[in-house]
Symmetry: C2
Subunit: 353 residues, 2 copies
C-alpha cells in the first residue's frame, strides 16, 4: 500500500492471468490459446507492414479493419469498435454503460475479470449462481435492474447458451446494456450477432486471440448498434487515441479475410475436443459438455488441485481456480491431438498411483 | 447522446488527434512523428517475431523490455512500467494517483489530453497560465495542493524546463505525484530521470513514438520508484493484462538497444530545427525557442488559421489549435531538410500574396 495511490487503486483486486512460464517448455493448456499457427496470409500481411511507415501513427479509427469486419458480419462499419484485446473492449464497456446506481449482473462461475472491472469502476456486482450443472439460470438474468454480462460459451465451464435464451434476456432488459462475450463462440456456439439490428441494448464482444490464433497481437472488437459503439469511442478517445498498432491492424484485417483457414482449424479443435472428452470420461473424469476450445473436468477420486500439481511436474500446464464450487475442477485447453495424447498419458500415470 | 451511456460518458469531451489523412500524400508535419525510419535492427527484431508464436499471449509483465529499459536508465526493472503508448501510461497515472478531493495542476497551454483525462477520472483541473512568453511559472506549481503534470519540453510550445525547476516543484509537493511527461526530451531537453531515486513522488513518462520513430507500434513507459510502478500495475491489471503485443515488445527492446542510431537521427532533427527556425524568422515568423522536434510559430501579418489552410491546400499539413492565447500559432513538426524546404517554399508563396 502506498500513500500515493488514490482510494480506488488501494481497493483494487487485480486480475491474475494464467502463467506464461519461462522456466522450461510445457505442453501449455492453461490459457486457451489456439494450438495451430495463425493463417499464413496473416503472417504475410504483418510482415509487409514491418517497414519504415512504423514511424507514423496508425489509423486511430481503424477504418479498414472495421469495414472488413462489418462486411464479414453483415453490419456497417459504425457498428464495429476495435480494442487492444477483448479485455480492453470489456473495460471500456464497463466504463461506458454501467453505473454505480444499478448492479451489474454476472454469474458466480464466469470469466473472473468481470468482478475486477466492476471493482475498477466502483460498480456493485449482482452475482447470479449457475445451477447445479453449471447451466445459466436465464430467468434470474431477466429479473435484474442493471446491466448484464454473459460469456457465450461460458468460461471456464465451456457451456453454450441457445439464441432464444439470450433473446429472452435482451427482451427482459430493454433499458440496460447486455454484453454477450463471444470469445469462444467459433468452437460450436450460436452467435447472437444476427440479433444486433433488433436489439439496441445488445453488445457482442469478440477476440482474435482464440479462434484467429492471434493472442500475441492483441485485437478484440465489439459489435452493436451505433449508439453503443459511439459510447465506446467516447471512452476510448478519452483514454488513448491509438490503441491498435499498424502491425496488429494489418494482421487483424487479414485474419477476418482468411476465415476458411480458421474454420478448418476450429473444426480440428472441435474434433480433438470431442475425442479427448470421451477419453477423459473413460478414465473417470466428469466432463462438462463444451462448445469452446477447452474442457472443464473433475475427477471422482483425485482432487483437482493435486492433479494440477502432478500435471505441472510432468510438464503439462492446465488452469486451476481455487474458488468456491469449482475448486475440484480443472480447465484444460484443447491442444493438438499430440498434446492431448501427452495430457492423457500424464493423467493415466497420475491416476494409477 | 444515448440513454445507454452512463453519466460519466455523457459528460466526456474526448481528445481529437491530429489528422491522419488518406485523401492524398502530404508533407506531414502535424503529429510530431519522426521523419526518419526506425532503426534497421528494430525492423529486423520485429520481423523475426512474426511467426507461429503469435498464437500465444505475450509476456503480461514485459520482463525483457523492462530489464532493457532499466539497464539503459540505470534503474531496476521494478522501476519501469510499460503501456500501450504514453497516452495509456498517462491514463493509468491519472486513474491511479489523482483524487477528486484535490485538484490536478497543469498549464493552460499544454498537451490537451490532460484535461480529457481529468474529465474521464472526474478530477478538478487547476489550470496554471504560462507567462507571456509561454514560460512555466515554477512558483505557481509549488503552491498547489494536488498532483502535477508537466511535459518537458512542453507541447505545443516546445519550451524546455531546467532540472532545478523540476526539483523545486518536486520538493514543494512531497505528498503529491508529480508527472514529468518527457515525450520530447531527447531533442535537447534535460531529463529528470536521474532524480528518480531521490524523489518517491516523481513519475517520468516516455514514449517510443517520437525519438524512437515507432509511433506505429504503440509503446510508452513510466519510470519511477517501485511504489508508483506498483500502483500503475494494479490499475493496468484491473483493466487489461496484456497491453503490449509480441511484435511491439520485440521492437521496443531493440529500440532501446540501438540508441546510437537514434541519437544520430535526433541530432539531425535538431540541426534541421535550428536552421528552419532561422529561416522562419527571416520571413517574419516569431519562433518560440524549441527543445523538441517541433516549432511553435506565429506570423505578425498573416493569421495562423489562414496559413494553416493555405499550407494544407499546398499539400503541407501542420497543426492548428483554435484555442485561447494560441489561436494565432502553428505547431510545425520538424521533418527532413527536404520537407522543411517544401514548407518554406509554401510559406513564402503564401506570404507574398
Amino acid at each position: 500500500m502506498s500513500n500515493f495511490w488514490n482510494k480506488n487503486v488501494q481497493k483494487l483486486d487485480p486480475y491474475v492471468p494464467g502463467e506464461q512460464p519461462k522456466d522450461k517448455k510445457y505442453v501449455k493448456l492453461n490459457t486457451n490459446e489456439n494450438p495451430y499457427p495463425p493463417s499464413p496470409h496473416v503472417l504475410d500481411a504483418i510482415k509487409q507492414a514491418v517497414n519504415d511507415q512504423l514511424r507514423l501513427y496508425p489509423d486511430p479509427n481503424c477504418d479498414e479493419f472495421r469495414k472488413t469486419a462489418a462486411d464479414h458480419f453483415h453490419l456497417t462499419p459504425d457498428q464495429v469498435f476495435v480494442g487492444n484485446g477483448s479485455d480492453e473492449v470489456l473495460a471500456f464497456s464497463f466504463m461506458s454503460f454501467f453505473s454505480p446506481e444499478n448492479p451489474v449482473a454476472f454469474a458466480d462461475i464466469t470469466y473472473s475479470f468481470y468482478k475486477v472491472y466492476a471493482n475498477l469502476c466502483s460498480l456493485t456486482p449482482k452475482i447470479i449462481p449457475l445451477d447445479q450443472e453449471f447451466k445459466l439460470p436465464v430467468a434470474s438474468f431477466c429479473e435484474t435492474s442493471g446491466g448484464v454480462v454473459i460469456p457465450n460459451p461460458n468460461a471456464p465451464t465451456g457451456r453454450g447458451l441457445p439464441l432464444d435464451a439470450v433473446k429472452e434476456i435482451l427482451e427482459a432488459n430493454p433499458d440496460q446494456v447486455v454484453i454477450i462475450d463471444e470469445a469462444y463462440i467459433d468452437f460450436g456456439g450460436t452467435s447472437v450477432v444476427p440479433l444486433i439490428n433488433d436489439f439496441p441494448n445488445l453488445l457482442v464482444i469478440r477476440t482474435l486471440s482464440k479462434y484467429s490464433s492471434l493472442a500475441g497481437i492483441r485485437v478484440g472488437f465489439a459489435l452493436g448498434q451505433k449508439e453503443l459503439i459511439d459510447g465506446l469511442n467516447r471512452t476510448k478517445n478519452s483514454f488513448n487515441s491509438y490503441t491498435i498498432d499498424r502491425l496488429a491492424l494489418a494482421g487483424a484485417k487479414a485474419a477476418i479475410d482468411d476465415d476458411n483457414y480458421y474454420r478448418d482449424m476450429a473444426q480440428r479443435i472441435i474434433n480433438t475436443r470431442e475425442h479427448t472428452a470421451a477419453s477423459l470420461e473413460a478414465i473417470g473424469f466428469q466432463v462438462i459438455p463444451s462448445q469452446s476450445n477447452f474442457l472443464f473436468v473433475s475427477h471422482a477420486d483425485v482432487p483437482a488441485e493435486e492433479i494440477f500439481h502432478e500435471l505441472r511436474a510432468r510438464g503439462v500446464l492446465v488452469r486451476y481456480f481455487n474458488q468456491p464450487r469449482i475448486a475440484n475442477y480443472l480447465r484444460i485447453t484443447v491442444g493438438t491431438d499430440e498434446e492431448m495424447g501427452k495430457l492423457l498419458d500424464a493423467l493415466k500415470d497420475i491416476l494409477k498411483k
